[in-house]
């Protein structure tokens, strides 16, 4: 694995779980699978600390354990650690499909790795009470929301048990247990009671969210390429795909026209209903090749080609990167080599219509930066003539994508470093503001007067306030940038998943 992937995982663990989990994570990353004893030896941490850290890693799904002849071995899962970056987007999805309360519940689970249904509901209830007293929410309403999350498969049963000795993953039941609502109400009052779901834990179904993010990319690509209606059609097709195909298959099983028509009729897109045939034909004929007609029976059979879709999307992404880094002429050369597969320098300048010198310069820059590859081809000429050598340029997309993934890791790592630095160097002020906030809310509870409150707010000088605002904006902007870089990272990772 790569250097920057390691560094990125390391800073993520540090930021969210502290230095001990970080060093155990680092250690596992460097050495692959390892047993508890060895981890203790290489990290030099006391055994209880190592155990604690491992617990955290297992709890959040960042590591797994396997029984081998050498005892229990722990494996690190860097890809899962990187999903930390996507938590805000997962929460956004939960909010979109299941509402604000569901978003909070999901956040609770994300914060803790896994949790019982009753605890999730109780915690969310408390939080709601604190934040929005005007909005009354009841326990049973939260229970419904929880069931909705489960029904949408945003949450799934956790197979991680406290004893950590579960056998091969058997099929887990995903029914929400019957909760004893009265007992829960008791617990809320501060009494102990049994809500009836002891040891039944739930975790976030990362796979499901990855699918959502993947589908979202495809839908918005089609929306951008054609229009809203076509995008909605794509979404409906993806729903239909789930009914008959394993979620990560390269292509979907054939979807009959009649079902598409049925599905489209149920949603409020009149133009799509009217022109369904035409939209299907448009998607089918579009060069992006997301959809293929695979049969003609019953008005047509259609198959979604996710694999091809992500190949097109990865190409577009990489082309864009080349464009931004080396200019539009370089991007023209890059696309030209893509469409010609193998091409000579001379052809490049002729077809791209770029002056020979500039074309050569750009081609060799791209070669040097590994966006292009060169192959030497020797052709024996007439006996007297020396062998003629051709240099053909081509693109190895997989390699370029891997390189760009590394680029994303590096950019993420740097951005996080900078963000940490910005908040560390302004720590005093940020802390001060926190103190003021706590003080204010405490005093409010004790019925402080307006004047008293105003006095406390005055503790911040105007220049401090200005500075604080600046720092907060900086941190926000850097955080936003991390999300954006991760979008690229996700798309490219998806491509590699399929290729």
């Amino acid at each position: 694995m790569s250097l920057f992937c390691e560094k990125l995982c390391s800073v993520l663990l540090l930021e969210h779980f502290g230095p001990i989990v970080q060093s155990v994570g680092d250690d596992l990353f460097k050495h692959g699978a390892k047993s508890l004893g060895f981890i203790r030896a290489t990290t030099g941490l006391p055994l209880p600390k190592v155990k604690e850290a491992l617990c955290v890693l297992l709890q959040y799904g960042f590591a797994i354990h396997r029984q081998t002849e050498k005892g229990i071995q722990y494996h690190f899962l860097p890809d899962k650690v990187i999903t930390i970056l996507r938590y805000p987007r997962y929460m956004f999805f939960a909010k979109k499909f299941c509402g604000d309360e569901a978003e909070m519940m999901l956040e609770e689970v994300l914060k803790r790795g896994y949790e019982t249904a009753s605890q999730i509901i109780i915690k969310t209830f408390h939080r709601l009470e604190q934040h929005r007293s005007e909005h009354q929410s009841s326990l049973s309403m939260l229970k419904d929301k929880f069931e909705l999350l489960v029904k949408n498969q945003f949450l799934t049963r956790s197979i991680c048990t406290e004893t950590m000795d579960e056998g091969p993953a058997e099929k887990i039941e995903c029914n929400v247990p019957d909760l004893n609502m009265q007992a829960m109400a008791q617990i809320m009052q501060g009494n102990t009671d049994d809500p009836g779901d002891n040891k039944i834990y739930w975790r976030v179904n990362l796979d499901r969210f990855e699918q959502d993010l993947r589908d979202q990319i495809m839908v918005s690509a089609i929306t951008k390429r054609v229009d809203e209606n076509a995008g909605e059609l794509m979404r409906q097709l993806l729903f239909l795909m789930y009914l008959r195909t394993a979620s990560w298959a390269d292509t979907s099983n054939p979807i009959p026209y009649s079902e598409i028509k049925e599905a489209v009729r149920k949603i409020n897109y009149p133009l799509l209903v009217q022109y369904l045939d035409q939209y299907l034909r448009l998607l089918e004929e579009d060069s992006s090749q997301f959809l293929k007609r695979v049969g003609d029976s019953g008005g047509g059979q259609f198959s979604i080609n996710t694999k091809e879709a992500f190949s097109q999307l990865a190409w577009t992404t990489v082309e864009n990167i080349v464009m931004e880094r080396f200019g539009s002429k370089a991007a023209r050369i890059f696309r030209l080599v893509r469409s010609r597969k193998y091409v000579e320098q001379e052809q490049i300048q002729q077809l791209a219509m770029i002056p020979a010198k500039e074309a050569k310069h750009l081609t060799y820059t791209l070669l040097q930066e590994n966006y292009l590859q060169m192959q030497e081809l020797k052709k024996a000429g007439a006996s007297a003539a020396p062998t003629k050598t051709f240099f053909l340029f081509y693109i190895d997309l997989n390699q370029v994508v891997r390189m760009e993934i590394e680029h994303c890791y590096h950019a993420l790592y740097n951005t996080i470093q900078r963000r940490e630095q910005e908040s560390a160097s302004n720590k005093r002020m940020i802390d001060k503001q926190l103190r003021i906030q706590t003080l204010t809310s405490n005093l409010k509870e004790h019925g402080a007067t307006e004047e008293q409150l105003a006095e406390i707010v005055e503790m911040m000088t105007p220049s401090e306030k200005l500075q604080l605002e600046k720092v907060q904006n900086t941190i926000k902007k850097l955080g936003g940038s991390e999300l954006q870089i991760d979008e690229t990272l996700f798309l490219l990772t998806m491509y590699l998943h399929y290729h």
């Binding site: 690509a221 951008k224 390429r225 054609v226 229009d227 209606n229 076509a230 022109y275 035409q278 034909r281 448009l282 060069s287 992006s288 097109q312 999307l313 577009t316 992404t317 864009n320 990167i321 931004e324 880094r325 539009s328 023209r332 050369i333 696309r335 030209l336 469409s339 001379e346 052809q347 002729q350 077809l351 791209a352 219509m353 770029i354 002056p355 020979a356 500039e358 000429g381 007439a382 007297a384 760009e404 680029h407 994303c408 590096h410 950019a411 740097n414 951005t415 470093q417 900078r418 630095q421 900086t474 902007k477 940038s481 954006q484 870089i485 991760d486 979008e487 690229t488 990272l489 798309l491």
Partner: protein, 311 residues
Amino acid sequence: MEIDPGPSEEHNVNASTEDSPEIIEQKIIALAHTKTKGISDKDILSEMPDVQPVQRALVINKLLSQGLLDLYKQDKILLYRLKDPNKVKTAKGADNEEKIVYTIIEEAGNKGIWIRDIRFKSNLMPTQLNKILKSLETKKFIKAVKSVAASKKKVYMLYNLEPDRSVTGGAWYQDQDFEAEFVDVLNQQCYRFLEQKRKETKDCRGGPIAARNITFATSREVWKFISDLGISKVKLSVDDLEMILNTLIYDGKVEKTLSNDGTYLYRAVEPLLEPPGLIKAPCGVCPVRKNCSDFGDVSPINCQYITEWLA
């Protein structure tokens, strides 16, 4: 080499409907054989009524330059007379080597041939070959033409030939200099035309397929638009325009589809994605990223690029 097949296709078309220059040449020689006193333009016209005057002039010029015909005036009429074959030889002053080189160059046609390739084909020593080429050049049997493919490369071809576009570069070259700005302007204007068509679909009420079909344009339509603009000093052909349209395809702005009747249709397209998030971040486009590490002069902590971006 894939240089525009257009013109050569046209040649073929001519050849199939009319006689090729070689046949006309032979016919004229045969005619000249029958009349040792010489033939006039009139004679040729009555013998070969189909031959266009231009073509006749071309063939005659060629025969004259090759020294096969003599030209003289009699009673104010121009007459062509066949030269004595023996005399031809001495008149040309050609020896065997010269003949060989001449044939090699002749075979290369209007694409010309590079001196190195002549050397391989003829097996002559460089100095000797140079002498022969000089002598053929001074006699105006052949000429050297600078090729645009490589700045210092000269190719040889028969004196009377019009160099192929792959040698001169066609409309895009002025004295071997590539006119990059001209190409850029055309590239932009073609795109403007296609993009305009795409915008028109906003008001289209006939369904998505009809809307898409409005966006299509043939290369001839684009050519007409550009010609009407009058931005080009030289006369451009439809083939020239197709070269420009291809650059738009490589720019990712235009797509080409084969229509049912076999012509290509062009249309402006939207890319699948917004620019990726990576390149919106400073580190996504950073020129010194390779040198950037936690410690040292280039590091994220003190990075000027990020500082500027944050400002």
